[in-house]
Subunit: 259 residues, 2 copies
């Protein structure tokens, strides 16, 4: 990695190094700076902030036939990838870490299950400005072209302005043609939850097993939320913190009768 | 599950259904209410809020030779276990979900990597009062006896007072003899991070691989933090929220020049 004036951008994701979404991020990042990609070698959706503590981690340089971009593929989780990049691959601290573009939404409560966002959060804990991007289209054939304009400007603004300390950005992009996206809204995480519905089946050996399925339920009618923005054609930008302390609850719990 | 007046307590963990720590929680929970255990069939440390989306999940009733407790063992993650309990196992909503006792600390930034805490957070998202417990001793021979008094009173207080909406508790217990634990402190999450140091090795086939290791660095000198409490002999109780919005950053990001 040359130590010149171009910003160094670390790119990762949770859909795997060969997913189309990460290609869109790389395309944008190359216009802005030097690019290093460290991403999982297979899909890691729903991995949350998992790390590999009881197993080995492989990490190999792979050829992407693009000399301007270094690409590494790892058997680890998205969070492992960020840790490997920081500790073993990069020779200087990146100026920005971008994760995604995820195939599917990471809005509202999905932020806590998301490998895409956990990679960004991990970078944030290490003092690197970081943004996770997701497109509301699960398909492998999703069209990432309309997203690029928003990705580029958010990266440029993050590099120009910085991101507040201990904060990373969760960006979700509606699945709309470019001309139908109305703009960007900075918003709060909607209060929502998943209502699970496990699909029970029996394997050929007679043992029951389950598939996790579920329905997303938005409990929040606020017009300042990410869900509202996305439903109304806006790109949502939620600043996310990893100090999880519920400060407003401190006093109430302190009144409990405890030994 | 009888629908009587005894509270229903869901017990889970991330160290696996056979770990000693969960036995301590079960012992305490049995004194307070009806108990159902749904826990991973193998250790799941560091799984964060991972869920199993691309694989099957097994979940079988297991005999723990204790007729007062129903025990299920699942191939899923801690979060999967809570979802399975809510959706497939319990016939009513639990009054409390407790997770742990984890073998090792989940204080400060560890909360985001912790399967123990993610199980509690998952219960919280489903409107169940929830507490994650961890003892600062990684050993399988850890002594959980001194923890029980604190576990019991926290459970009783949570059932009596409720826990504020959208908040769960992260409880860490110092590894000290009972008489040296000074009491309980309600506190905020310390600002801390992990400095990684990957151990690089070569496998018998000549391919390099890594083990993730790291050093915990407390960046926070505040005496109102969980790290301070634990270092000074107190049980730390941090109220944790899963609305991750960094409200104080909303205004600053809203000033960015965005399409």
């Amino acid at each position: 990695m040359k130590n010149n004036k171009r910003p160094l951008i670390l790119v990762t994701n949770d859909d795997g190094v060969s997913a189309p979404g990460i290609r869109a991020l790389i395309d944008v990042a190359k216009k802005i700076g030097d690019v290093c990609v460290v991403a999982p070698d297979s899909p890691q959706s729903g991995m949350g902030h998992a790390i590999t503590v009881n197993n080995t981690i492989y990490c190999d340089k792979v050829d992407l036939s693009d000399p301007a971009v270094q690409v590494y593929s790892s058997s680890g989780t998205p969070v492992d990838c960020v840790k490997l990049a920081m500790n073993k691959i990069l020779d200087r601290k990146p100026d920005l870490c971008i994760s995604g573009i995820n195939h599917g939404s990471n809005s509202s409560i999905n932020v806590i299950y998301s490998g895409t966002m956990s990679a960004a959060v991990e970078a944030g804990t290490q003092g690197i400005p970081a943004i996770g991007f997701s497109l509301l289209d699960y398909s492998l054939e999703a069209n990432f072209e309309p997203s690029k304009r928003y990705v580029e400007q958010l990266c440029r603004q993050a590099l120009a302005n910085g991101i507040p300390k201990n904060v990373v950005l969760n960006v979700n992009i509606p699945n709309l043609p470019a001309e139908e996206i109305k703009g960007t809204k900075v918003c709060r995480q909607a209060n929502a939850q998943w209502k699970e519905s496990f699909d029970k089946r029996t394997n050929p050996h007679g043992r029951d097993y389950y598939w996790l399925t579920g329905e997303f339920v938005n409990l929040d009618s606020g017009e300042d939320t990410d869900e509202w923005a996305l439903e109304n054609g806006y790109v949502s930008v939620v600043p996310v913190q990893f100090d999880l302390t519920a400060y407003t609850a401190l006093e109430q719990i302190a009144e409990w009768e405890l030994p």
